[in-house]
Symmetry: C3
Subunit: 178 residues, 3 copies
Amino acid sequence: MPTDAASRMLEDRLRAIEDRLAILNLIASHPPSADTGADYYTRAVYAEDGVFDRGPHAGGTGNAAIAAVVKTPEHHAAIASGLAHFCGLPYIELDGDRAAVTSYLQILTPDPNGAPVELSNHGTSKGFRIHRVAANRWELARTAAGWKIKRRTLRPLDGSEPARQILRQALEAYETTE
Amino acid sequence: MPTDAASRMLEDRLRAIEDRLAILNLIASHPPSADTGADYYTRAVYAEDGVFDRGPHAGGTGNAAIAAVVKTPEHHAAIASGLAHFCGLPYIELDGDRAAVTSYLQILTPDPNGAPVELSNHGTSKGFRIHRVAANRWELARTAAGWKIKRRTLRPLDGSEPARQILRQALEAYETTE
Amino acid sequence: MPTDAASRMLEDRLRAIEDRLAILNLIASHPPSADTGADYYTRAVYAEDGVFDRGPHAGGTGNAAIAAVVKTPEHHAAIASGLAHFCGLPYIELDGDRAAVTSYLQILTPDPNGAPVELSNHGTSKGFRIHRVAANRWELARTAAGWKIKRRTLRPLDGSEPARQILRQALEAYETTE
């Protein structure tokens, strides 16, 4: 017969597992929203006081302001040209009601200057180009309505230091146990 | 002492967790099969009446027909040239014995026209090109032999509308709760 | 009231689930470590007698030797130029205290020869190139200090046979059940 302590421990383990799977899905839902301009999604997953920190580039504060960006004519022009956000496997640090996620992102578009190449039974294509590669840190908080984004920090992975700082944060736990 | 209801709830949670992990693995096993021409895999993971819907391009109906495609000389020519399917983080919607997965896919090959570039301690390479970027929707069903693909819908992410329709479907739940 | 057998079965299921999530995170932590030269991470996640098998290219035996590679001037030159390891969705085979993971990896850098392209509200960029695409097989073992890498085998996905051998291994279970 399980004791109360055993039940609580089981519940804690299950909750941590479900949290990780929910967080994977939250990160996975970002590209579809960005590539369709789904402002209703962005409003739903950012905390009301959430922040999208893009460094020197325009980001936003508050879920309404952040969501408004994907409705701009500029963003819709990018979508019409064939914008694709491509997300790699994210690294998750879970700590009770908080979590941090480190992820890599590619911004892809059809290559306007590409030479047509035929690939056997995959047709001819001018190819796609990687416009940007970025490191992301997502700081999340548990709420009554599920996990919400408190802060997303994005820095271009182009050899400059800020992106490496984001990546280093992911591994701090390893550094301190040496 | 757990009641029957508590046991059933625990079982439901465990099963949903195991389902999500099984589905992640199912999606992850697609690129290795496509890039080796493993028709035995394709037959095993599609339902007998499964459909691969590629829109205007040749797809297939029935697991045997879909599997036959990866044995064609055309597909093997693509494999010999260095074909790589590259899968991003998939978004999973689980609903009992059904599931839908939305995923991004890149089709990569060595770049026949690339200029050789040397990358410190990573050797010299003419690089790879992204031939195609595609949105996929996988509709899955639980069977006695595990999760099977009932329908895979693939549309090129090139600025045209059908791919965006696939991506939008993933976020319908968010749209309707506004 | 759960029997001892039921408790043990529950524990086995929970452990397998937690193992899979821990392994996903282990694979996800590789790119941040490679792109920051975090040798302390590499030492921590490889077994003491771990092997990094790169075929004809310099790999390493032992976690100290493998970790030393990311501290070399050559690797730091690559990092300074904007190195990004980009990891796709991995396929996991879990078997008790052992596991094998099959994953795809892209090595990305800013394109030194790229023509500047402006992408609406994403700024101007000369783009990134894919220097290499590789198939990886990670053989893992459970230890008192968590999952450790016993052997990582990396082969370039360029049309040559060794990479396909790695990918085929992932699907052996399907092949033998035909």
